[in-house]
């Protein structure tokens, strides 16, 4: 440990509207994996209409909501777009799931109209025929273990030349056709995986924590944790859905 007490501040954006798929699990995972290592952790919830000071945040979590709720959030997001963009370009860490992932991009075109995105990553989403609902398994460049989770989305996301979060081993992924899931841009991960994402994928959680600590303190070595239960839960999904 360094000389000073290290601390990570997580900003949870709009839990009043974006809270569909166990996002609390992602927060709990980040908080506990800091605490277990003696790193202080705090989560600040920002509800719609709250002022957000990005300079005080180390990780931003943008969760999933229903289409209707996403449209309400979208209005609020435009007010913080400029600050959020600066945060991302400066290496700020973001984990955006489901609806939050769609909002990272340029727009989400639904049959009811176009929801303006945050333009943080050059991707876009269009509503497709039917929802893509299933367990999902990825092989990701960020981790040694497979990444496992659950997806449930009507939107098809197109990431262009951007780096995907992972290659789909089982499930649908971004658009059900490309064979890839999610996006990674600077220190931003956007993904359809919930379940929630982080507890069964501790390496992804640690990737986020490491990047946040590096940005804040210059360097970061994360002490190893006993991840036996995480590994077993991950392996169960992998073996059940991906044939050896």
């Amino acid at each position: 440990m360094g000389d000073t007490q290290k601390k990570i501040v997580i900003g949870h954006l709009y839990p009043d509207l974006l809270n569909l798929y166990g996002d609390r699990g992602n927060i709990a995972c980040m908080m506990e994996r800091c605490r277990w290592r003696g790193i202080e952790a705090e989560t600040i919830e920002f509800n719609t209409g709250d002022e957000i000071d990005f300079s005080g945040l180390d990780i931003v979590l943008l969760g999933g909501g229903s289409d209707r709720e996403q449209a309400i959030v979208c209005k609020n997001l435009q007010k913080i777009q400029k600050d959020f963009k600066e945060y991302v370009e400066d290496g700020g860490v973001v984990i955006a799931v489901c609806g939050g992932y769609q909002l990272l991009g340029n727009y989400y075109k639904t049959e009811d109209g176009v929801i303006e995105g945050l333009h943080l990553v050059d991707i876009y989403t269009e509503q497709g025929e039917g929802r893509l609902i299933d367990n999902i398994v990825l092989q990701s460049g960020l981790t040694s273990m497979p990444v496992v989770g659950f997806e449930n989305h009507g939107g098809r996301t197109f990431i262009g030349e951007n780096q995907p979060f992972g290659k789909v081993l089982y499930g649908y992924g971004n658009d059900g056709e490309s064979g890839y899931e999610g996006v990674v841009y600077k220190n931003v991960i956007g993904t359809y995986l919930h379940g929630p994402l982080l507890p069964k994928n501790p390496e992804v959680c640690d990737w986020l924590l490491k990047r946040a600590l590096e940005r804040k303190y210059g360097s970061a070595e994360l002490a190893p944790l006993d991840d036996q239960e995480e590994k077993e839960a991950n392996a169960y999904i992998y073996h059940r859905f991906v044939k050896e």
Binding site: D16, L20, A28, K200, E230, Y236
Partner: protein
Amino acid sequence: MRLRRMTAVWAAKLAEKISVHIFHRQGVTWAGKIALRLDPSILRTLASQVKKDIFIVCGTNGKTTTNNMLCAALEAEGYRVVCNHTGSNMLNGVAAAFALAAGLGGNLKADYACIEIDEASTRRVFPHFKPDYMVLTNLFRDQLDRYGEIDITMNILKKVMQSAPKMKVIVNGDDALSAFLAMDSGNPYVTYGIGQKVMDDSQSHEIREGRFCKKCGALLQYHFYHYSQLGDYVCTGCDFRRPPLDFDAENVEVGDTLAFTVGEEKILANYKGFYNVYNILAAYAAIRTGGIRPDHFNQMLQNFHPENGRMEEFQIEGTRVVLNLAKNPAGFNQNISAVMQDPSEKDIIIVINDNAQDGIDVSWLWDVDFDRFKEDNIHSITVSGIRCQDMRLRMKYVNISSLLEADIETAIRSRIKDGCGNLYVLVNYTALFGTRNILKRLEENG
């Protein structure tokens, strides 16, 4: 076409018997399917033979208990009632309830029908008959992978309500979503609820649905919450607010038993769990709205043992075992409250499956406040079922260690052997029937 109907009734009865006695499974769904196949108009005809009224019960949680209680209350007043007791609440289950209740002549002798219907299945049942009354208990998030968002369920219910414009809705006024639906449908309605604050729930982390007014989109303000989003709300943007309660539970006492008053009536029940106040109140409001004087209501409650895995007790080798269904965050949180009301030491087994009927997405486990199990009187926690790994991880992230045993029977046997004699088994939907069979067998052989 009476002959056809008779054949369908006979076939349904036979199918049910074969299923129960040979395969030891509930045969209700199968029986209903066969009956409808042999006589597609059987449900319409038999429903029209109900002499007085048809009650249906809808809503995410509390359907089976409320419906069975309403049936028992009507029977206590001497009426003959058709009821889908087992909770098979899709079209086939509803058809089976009528077919199995019919005589061998293919006709029904019943004064009332009490039928619970899965919200999404109302679309398929309403073309067969139009109920006189609908009890709407609450709307919580449940199986997002199957039903989609709550908005979709609300749209379905609104359409069926409007397809039966004379049907009177008996609605939980404490739930802004249900109350809005009743008002918005244009159907006549009466309300029930708990007017005053009973316990403080403001610090809970529970997910609260419908924080924004369905009428105008503005934020709803709450004077207090009972649990989840049930409480006393008022819109900050329009005139939408909790409606006046026609049946208001007052002087609510929650402990080892439940007690409350509705007007002049004092109601006492031998159950645990605050949520049961709503179930009892809903049944009471329904019978009163139906114009029946429930003179034997308390007597009925004393004898009401539904034996369907809702707080059902077993005695196995000196261990008291309580089985309870918990299938979504709102239900699970209420379950935890009920378990924690028991101050004595206890072992807990949590069984989580992810079969189609459970919802294959188990992310909802993270919306349950499991940290409330962090008490001294918890002797052990065991996780079981298909997704026991997910459940163990869920407990790890509230810093509670748990024992993992995927096989339900092994888990139960182990805790009976090494536990403290007071065991709670909390299961989600597809684990219920199997677990109940195991417990019954162990009780009989013990």
